[in-house]
Symmetry: C2
Subunit: 373 residues, 2 copies
């Protein structure tokens, strides 16, 4: 199956450019792969915690059995998950989950927050891997990846929001994967209203593998390709244009906040600052008056480096020059969009290091919200 | 049904003591109430946005109809909610919902965070009201409360955690309500493992009504009592001891953080700082080394005043004197608990105003977590 995701961040200690590495990887001619799997995992050895002596062995087996009972991670492909309300559809490759927008997932306007939507993307990606029977660790790595000491790192994420779901709304969230170059994976999502079928949001992301020990990007091993490729489909949620180059902001940026620091509660189960927190930091610089009038309709994130829990982070953002020179009356016309560039970086004594660059597009909020304000 | 909750905070602009008011209310002799409802809302007029002229009327009706289609709030009692996986059980009064702990609801140790548990309490309370057909607004007020311009305010919340659910674990979360004195309501919760039936957590809370215009606490009107009382049951999730008096901390407290301020993303759909954020602020002062070794097993919150989005908040906490004098070797014994007192207050130019007082109890974390760390 599909694998995916999980901690939306390029990892730490990469001393060279992730972008350059990805470019290099996409040029590599890999041996033609041999499909050894068909989505079933019958050939996959059940992974147990490594053991060093007899007594720890027993304890660890007990722990893993307890974990298995409580968490119930399947070791073979499942088609229906009644608890998560998920199912595998479309010839066994696409994952669909029903979700209801909860009371604490909405903001003051009673529509789902951007953070909630990003959280749901993460959740369904992991559940897709879970359903595949391939989940080798908590971060979306397959058994083959675990055997090869590999983890996923995300290099790019784009989310387009047509409309925001409201509190209590029932949604269908679909996700699927495809090949991205020779060594990468694309993961897409589509979020619809269950009642009307109307699309609320679409997203796409690109993933590469990194060796956990060397912290270097890796080619996709054949055994991992055999696990993943039966799940790959061509369909794309967002048609790719030639990606526009994102300029790098500096201290002259119009809006900025420094001294952001991860709190204990910002760390995810990978002990990293979560991608969703990054987006929160990015948007914290936006002026209040702007956020009251505009809503985000597109965000593109390019990940460069992970931020550790002790890093001090600076968030910069700047509206496009053309927005600023546009006459206010024009800007307020329905359909007129405003664009911003963003940068999160760590402030080092010697040099700053980029964590993520972003581009956001904003449109005027509907004058009539689904709820009286 | 039951009503309950939603924004876990006493409201703003109360110029007198909430505690005193609650005391006064509990002494009032109210006329014996007349049960007019039986949980059905056939007699309840459907609420529409108030209208001032013909054109807005039409627009508002369209809006309300759209909202109804998208959100689908029932106007009569429902017994099963397939989307939220909720049902009304136990002679039609207790609400049970199945929930799965999601990947972003756990911390670095892969167990559900305190914030996630509190969020789920809020969510199930609201869904209980939703199922009752009595939901009059987004904050858990009944139709009768909306007609009387009343809202819920929470005065006390206690949560006991036996054990923390892990990532992917399937839970049964039950909630129900009872009378609290003459004019208040008690809402309780019980959180169990679906697989084993073991109780993870229990919670209880006390609610009173406040007039939205005058910002004064209110007696429970007969029509509201008629809506709520058919849902009241005696059973309590946590047996009440005589509540211990919480001392008020001052600037001499051992740990403290000042200049906390709500961010845009901290505001809930009631435009207030959410209770869960309060708890986050409260625990932010706790030392890292302590939090690595200990886990919270009991928290009691006493709400005094709501904090506005522009308030600057100070968080203070202090371990009990007896903890500090206890020998370290004793403290580390399994079962030895550590207690803290907490205070959140706004720092005013003239005087500080209390938002919430808290007491927490902590025990050593299990040496063996369900996941390898």
């Amino acid at each position: 199956m599909a694998s995916a995701f999980v901690s939306y961040h390029a990892c730490y200690n990469i001393s060279y450019s992730l972008a350059k590495d990805i470019h290099y990887l996409s040029k590599l001619k890999l041996p033609k792969f041999n499909i050894r799997g068909n989505g079933s995992t019958s050939a996959v050895t059940k992974i147990r915690a490594s053991t060093v002596s007899t007594v720890p062995h027993v304890i660890e087996n007990v722990d893993m059995d307890l974990k298995q009972t409580r968490q119930n991670i399947p070791t073979t492909k499942q088609f229906v998950d009644p608890h998560r309300q998920g199912s595998i559809i479309e010839n066994g490759v696409r994952y669909r989950q029903l979700v209801v927008i909860r009371s604490y997932e909405v903001g003051p306007d009673k529509t789902a927050t951007l953070e909630s939507i990003l959280n749901l993307l993460q959740e369904t990606a992991l559940n897709h891997v879970w359903m595949s029977g391939l989940l080798g660790d908590g971060f979306g790595a397959t058994h083959g990846m675990v055997r090869n000491d590999l983890m996923w790192v995300v290099s790019r994420l784009q989310l387009q929001v047509e409309d925001y779901p409201i509190w209590g709304e029932v949604l269908q969230l679909d996700t699927w994967v495809g090949a991205s170059g020779k060594n990468g994976m694309r993961r897409d999502w589509e979020l619809r209203s269950q009642a009307t079928g109307v699309v609320f949001a679409r997203a796409t992301s690109t993933w590469v593998m990194m060796n956990k020990r060397t912290r270097r990007l890796s080619k996709m091993p054949d055994e991992v390709r055999a696990e993943l490729s039966p799940w790959f489909i061509e369909k794309q949620a967002i048609m790719e244009d030639t990606p526009e180059k994102m300029k790098k902001l500096d201290d002259t940026a119009k809006h900025g906040t420094s001294s952001l620091k991860a709190k204990r509660s910002d760390l995810d189960m990978n002990h990293h600052v979560n991608n969703v927190k990054y987006v929160g930091w990015m948007l914290e610089t936006m002026p209040d008056e702007f956020m009251e009038q505009y809503q985000l309709c597109n965000i593109i994130l390019e990940y460069r480096k992970e931020c550790g829990s002790s890093d001090i982070v600076q968030s910069l953002s700047e509206p496009d020059e053309e927005n600023r020179t546009t006459d206010e009356s024009l800007r307020s016309l329905n359909g007129m969009q405003i664009k911003y560039t963003h940068l999160l970086q760590t402030k080092g004594e010697v040099k700053n290091e980029e964590i993520v660059r972003g581009r956001t597009t904003w449109r005027k909020k509907h004058s009539k919200m689904p709820f009286p304000m």
